[in-house]
Subunit: 508 residues, 4 copies
């Protein structure tokens, strides 16, 4: 998952030019996040994002051990030293975190059970580059249980949970990641995953495209043995499409970002809850009776609007797309231009994926105490830069909450400095992460086992049937009972009894 | 529109074999509908449907004129006799109906205004075969205003509003249609539209595929001049895809049935209201506290569930598709098998498109006074035939309402004999019909004006941009104000400021 | 029930002076209702109402028998002739209606069973004056089963269902009522109930106060033996309070109109459904996206607003009471003055109980096609009289639907001529009537069996415990399972395990 | 406000015997709260509560100054020393807190403006005993602005915000309160408020009844000059009713706890939001698809159910009161006994005010990971004591979150150890506190200015008109526009144009 890919607004599916930043152009690194706290652990922060983060400190932060992990000599209890983590002694605590996550990821656990006998990943050598969290650990150990060998690096320099990395190293996974890597460390870790004597990967699991990029750049021959790439971030997927267009993609790749299940959970269902959570945790405000304008009525906007309406807010919507606009109307929201309501609203929420949706002019016209926040794609939606002018005073009133004060005393309440509210100020339920991880695992199994020729050197969506399988693995959580087609019904509908049940263009 | 095409349930998108019934197999005609009342006028009843209808009588029914229109000599006030309708003298009344419909179809009226200057259909010779209703008349007169010549027949032997046909004839449209045509009349009327001295159609607007079929069969050469076919029914679309597969489609065809706007309005938005309306008009029941099971969580099921939940019913859902099932869970519905709740529910609603979803065994186990109805695709969802056994007594208690009585006195309340509740017992708002008619008009304009080569001999979906345009034409009804992209934003998103705003796979 | 008492808006609880019209001032009779159709059968139309009704004809209307029932000699099958109905031969059909109603009134049937052994009304001689409908018949036969003797007249000259009256007469109830009584007939019928040789009532069940008034005027001595009056209409209750204030009430009276259960069902729950039903049946409009203003946020307004919001309408509220206004805010509705939104709304609904809430000035400013209707107390809320001016054209487009046309062509859609929409254009579910009838039965039992001195010559609300009992009798309909207090819990709460569970001021 | 008084469940209005604990029986003190964090500052913790609290530390906690305030010599900047607070130097910081609170309490600020000219409290000498928070400070300074002299103590030993107390002392208010008082300190502070040379209170504002009790016990003669008592807690109100019953109440008292506005905000509106907030902050769970049982369908239960239903949970309700049970049915919830669903639910929420609603037997039968929490009156609803047995392991996983682990590994997630979730784990919006404080101010004004004889030595509810006034003062927050009655309308309704608009029994 990438910051924001779970949050594109109605109009935010086009990945614009500027997003295509390959790693050798990473001069922006220094501007980037200071750290990623526990809360947003499970979110991936792609290399290519220009979004920045600040968050509560991890409980393992206070390490006074300043030695770089690269300079340490560590072994796990079995004497193995093929890993590089902050402190192998934290393994026990990390193991407990993993066990808790296992309880909330029933689909992966079921996958372990169901597929274990046949070891569908026997022989697979997977190199991975994702956030290193307890949920990732459950995924990795599932891949292992299914027969795969894995080597893993972090896709973000701040998001690694050190104790989880330690636990993985302790149980024998070659993991190269710690919280607070330098840029040099970052690439060193990736290199340690792929550049191994006597081991060559045949599958790639990437989140952001950096790992893929590294192999392209340094070890292009490696692709001869690679059966496929699974990529889950908006940016990484975009890079793959670019490679494909340019005729340079030399193995099949699977875009798991756009599977139905993942999209609905990352956006509609997750944001329906996180908008309330994010606003409450930061402002303790009451929703009842508040006037809110939501910019963008894509999946994220739909989730925000539904939640706030249910809590008694009066919600206005802005849109650029007439179809989404008509949906907003039919769902009971006044469709307005932002300037029409900007003077009267109590809250402004952006969910567009666009830039400068909220301008300084809008900010100037807001009423006192208006709350402004962003649930959309990146930190561009609110023109925060325009607020950094001498006549305005900034006052930090809480973590993630700034009052911006006009000369006449008017205060705007800006949340997370315009970055993503749901990443900064609320949590992602493990259930959502479970959907993503299961999707990744199935995509790996599919690509690895696909008969010769099923997949060409192109970018594919997850097959419908696998998407349905991910969903079915999560139904037991709700004690939900699917109906099965009779033979007669299947024939009548012209369907296989096991699916897929819908054509590809079905909109759900 | 076809009976049911607006109502496919979750699993109902596959058109099974049996639906492909070409006209020469129409021995079933006699079993079919007796008449179509005012309420369902705007619904199309395809030739190929096996569904039957009964409904309130039209107010023009009581004609004691038994002479066949084919045997009459009629002229309109300008002396023109190129038409065949029931009674040209009803024109004035029909005109008033058309005027009322115009008020509720602002998009077509706007289209008339916007496109009139340029006459985008100048030179178009359109032959149409649809239901003949006031709304269709507004469409035809719009096509005329845009420059087209039209000739029109009815796509259903019962659905013609005679007075509207008269009004169209009076204003010079060659219309060949009346209520209560025989099968022979039906084809005669179609033939009169296409088999004209000195006039040859270059566009086809079809609803059900019968007109297309007739031309294929009788005047295949005519396709040389035809620029395209616009088809709006599930069945007609399916026939076109079959032709295309078989390599026999010799002109471009446009499937307007699957446009986003039309689908959402025909299914989700329309059914959200019509389920309540249909149940109230037939049973006067109270929704609060009732236990309801909805079979199928497609767009129709989603609409039904949302409405009943909002009215205080307790709703259970059955599904075969795990993705839709997961959606039902996240929307707050218990996902069950029908047999689990059949003893306890007060209402059973089918929205699957499948057959024998409610079996005799289910019916036997329902509790006294349970209401059973169908919002799905056709009359197959409830096994009504299984209730026609000697030990059960049928009692007609109201129009469209039967009590089926078990030997022990238990009564089941069966609505519309298992046919579509929303067609039989509620109305289709003109606003929904306006969406459809506008879509048809734009598809005609597109096909007619497309540069050589844009469309091949294949079946196309309505271009996204046109779908968006249909939506935009309906926004003024809600006094809804779209936001326009700035140049900078459009560039950032890589979008044209006028759309299309989404990729084709976007799910809305 | 009285027209409107189920519909008082937020501000409509004060019965103003003009409502206190005693029967001898009934010169208004001629202006009154023409007939009461099947749909509104169960509604009471008080003598003192100035509201008028028109509705679909009863199926027994078409009697060509013009002889007054008073002039006929009729006997039931047992030779009994102590009744006066339209046609005793309709008894069988009426019996079937009663049987159907019994199925939907489980609480009364349960009461019959539970209380039958002890015959709590043994010795009771009840004279009743209510609407004569199938539901009333179930009530009367329940009273009979509990031991009471009953004599009955109609409280409205148009609302009697002749076949039900016949069925009651056939089974031995002295019933004096028919549809279309003259005013003289009306009082003659009442007199025949009370002025009987050798029989004197000891209980009164009244709906509107006319029976009570008649006894006060003609047979004041009768009160010596009367143990109490049960009255259910707003007007009747108000008359009783006036009598009480004036020191003229000579027996205990029970106001069943204001019991919790009855109020919630008559207002909130019933109107939540009937607003949708009434609008659909009259206009076939689509609710989604429509802008609606609801005047008054009492129970009726709350029901209307909740329903329309759920269907996707955008709802504005007007209020005079700041507490109700604050509730509207917290429930997510913009609180406005009518004049602020009158130009933009698609629908105006009055639920205030007030007069001239919608004035000619408002009507002049409404936009074309605006729908105007009344869900409030009486026909005064919309100033319909102001529309009867020469420059405006009225056009009846359907039963209960008028277009009022301004010189510039603007049309307003006026429903039910400003009378109550839910009485005129939708139905009252039997479940609601069941609540009322059960309340009446329990009030009679309570008053009849109360120990000397429990009730003085005053007006009482139904005891909380009885209100709770009415509710409990309706729970099985929903298969609802109450929890019982343990002894320990009851002691802890200081409650009796069987209730009452709340203090009188509890607001629910 | 008292812990829980804002949260009584359906059945929780009776104050049982055990609650009447006067201060001289305070041996329980030691078991009580350790501290009150910022979040719950504004909540009152009555002396008589047996509930305990733990919470995040206040940011002023880290005082290393161990000297008792009673032993310090402090003066404010004007040389005044008639106060006793932790540290007068914290005044500036407290002032800022007060200023922020002022922005969110527009009603009190409006009251200052509106009533200031006339000084309605001129001559009033108010002694108060409440929580000392920023919101209280706004109230006190409002009372001062209206002409009153005030002396103030804390009603809870842990809830005082030291910096706010300092700010009040700095601006001249004799305040005697600090965080972490001993029991002896507690009474000493109260005594310092009343036992003053040359100053005698004539009004009492109490929260919990301790101040009132102290005066009764020590200075009974003081009541000769006291014009009235305003009390806002459930317990304090109950004590007053006991005094009244016993004939010992010697001045008028006003029960502001049961005003409409306060009740609705404390319960329905506040809990609708805080149930979500409390669950999210403690568990980060996803609500969609979860099965929840809510015990009790009073105002609190109604709020919880509405919120969870809106978020996609499947909600079951238990009730003892058939009327509330019927409401639950009509609102779309299955009414069950707890034992029927205990095995299947994911969350159990108590809102009853009762004891042992969730027993050990229920806890034994819950499924793994079931979350259990209490939104009701006190800490008695869940039998937490029954979980303190040797075979169960408790594991604290977060602040306020315990896992209770069964021998077979099953874990129950217990929140706030069964104490009130919304006090422990969420916040009370200032808007809710504003309603309460405004009600208190108006009650003081009313009692102080009431003409001789209007109030006897009894307990009164806030006059309806004042309740309406409180509401009206909060409407501008929502930019809500009240409609005013015309003279004609007021006459028609028999109402004064300025209210009150409803009879006392109106249920809202």
């Amino acid at each position: 998952m990438e910051n924001g890919d779970g949050n594109e607004g109605a109009s935010a599916f086009h990945v614009p030019e500027w997003m295509i930043q390959f790693a050798d152009q990473k001069q922006e690194f220094n501007k980037r996040p200071t750290k990623i706290g526990r809360r947003s652990l499970s979110r991936s922060i792609s290399q290519s994002s220009t979004d920045s983060y600040s968050s509560a400190a991890s409980y393992t932060d206070s390490s006074d051990d300043e030695t770089s992990p690269r300079d340490k000599q560590q072994k796990n209890s079995k004497g193995n030293s093929d890993f590089c983590v902050k402190n192998i002694k934290q393994a026990e605590f990390g193991r407990r975190e993993i066990e808790i996550a296992e309880q909330e990821m029933p689909a992966l656990m079921a996958l372990r059970k169901r597929a274990q006998g046949e070891k569908p990943l026997a022989g697979a050598k997977i190199v991975g580059c994702t956030h290193i969290t307890a949920q990732t650990a459950v995924l990795m150990e599932t891949l292992g249980a299914l027969g795969a060998q894995c080597r893993w690096a972090a896709c973000n320099i701040y998001s690694t949970l050190n104790e989880v990395a330690a636990a993985l190293a302790e149980s024998g996974f070659p993991v190269f990641a710690w919280k607070g890597e330098s840029e040099d460390d970052f690439w060193w870790c990736i290199d340690r995953c792929v550049n191994v004597e006597g081991w060559q990967p045949n599958m790639i699991l990437d989140d952001g495209g950096d790992l893929t990029h590294w192999i392209y750049k340094k070890y292009p021959n490696m692709f001869k043995k690679i059966k496929g790439i699974v990529e889950e971030s908006v940016t990484g997927v975009h890079r793959l499409y670019q490679l494909s267009k340019a005729g340079k993609l030399c193995v099949p790749a699977m875009n798991v970002n756009d599977s139905v299940t993942k999209q609905k959970f990352d956006n509609l269902y997750c944001c329906r809850e996180s908008i309330l959570d994010g606003l409450k945790r930061t402002t303790d405000m009451m929703f009842g009776g508040k006037q809110v304008v939501v910019c963008g009525y894509g999946e994220v906007g739909k989730g925000c609007c539904a939640a706030l309406k249910a809590m008694g807010s009066i919600v206005y919507v802005t849109e650029i797309d007439p179809i989404c606009a008509l949906q907003a109307c039919m769902d009971g929201f006044r469709l307005v231009k932002l300037s029409e309501v900007i003077r009267q609203v109590d809250i402004v929420i952006t969910c567009t994926g666009n830039k400068n949706v909220v301008t300084r002019e809008h900010l100037d016209r807001m009423k006192n105490s208006c709350i402004v926040c962003n649930m959309g794609h990146s930190n561009t939606e609110i023109d925060v830069a325009s607020l950094r002018t001498p006549e305005l005073t900034w006052e930090r009133v809480r973590s993630q909450v700034d009052h911006v004060i006009w000369p006449d005393g008017k205060r705007i309440v800006l949340l997370a400095e315009g970055r993503l509210l749901n990443l900064s100020c609320s949590t992602v339920p493990t259930f959502v992460l479970s959907i993503t991880a299961t999707t990744q695992a199935l995509a790996l199994i599919e690509l690895y086992n696909a008969p010769e020729g099923r997949y060409k050197q192109d970018v594919y969506l997850l097959p419908k049937k696998m998407d349905e399988y991910v969903a079915s693995l999560h139904l037991p959580t709700f004690d939900a009972h699917l109906t099965e087609l009779t033979d007669e019904q299947a024939k009548y509908l012209g369907l296989n009894k096991n699916g897929p049940f819908k054509p590809n263009y079905y909109r759900y």
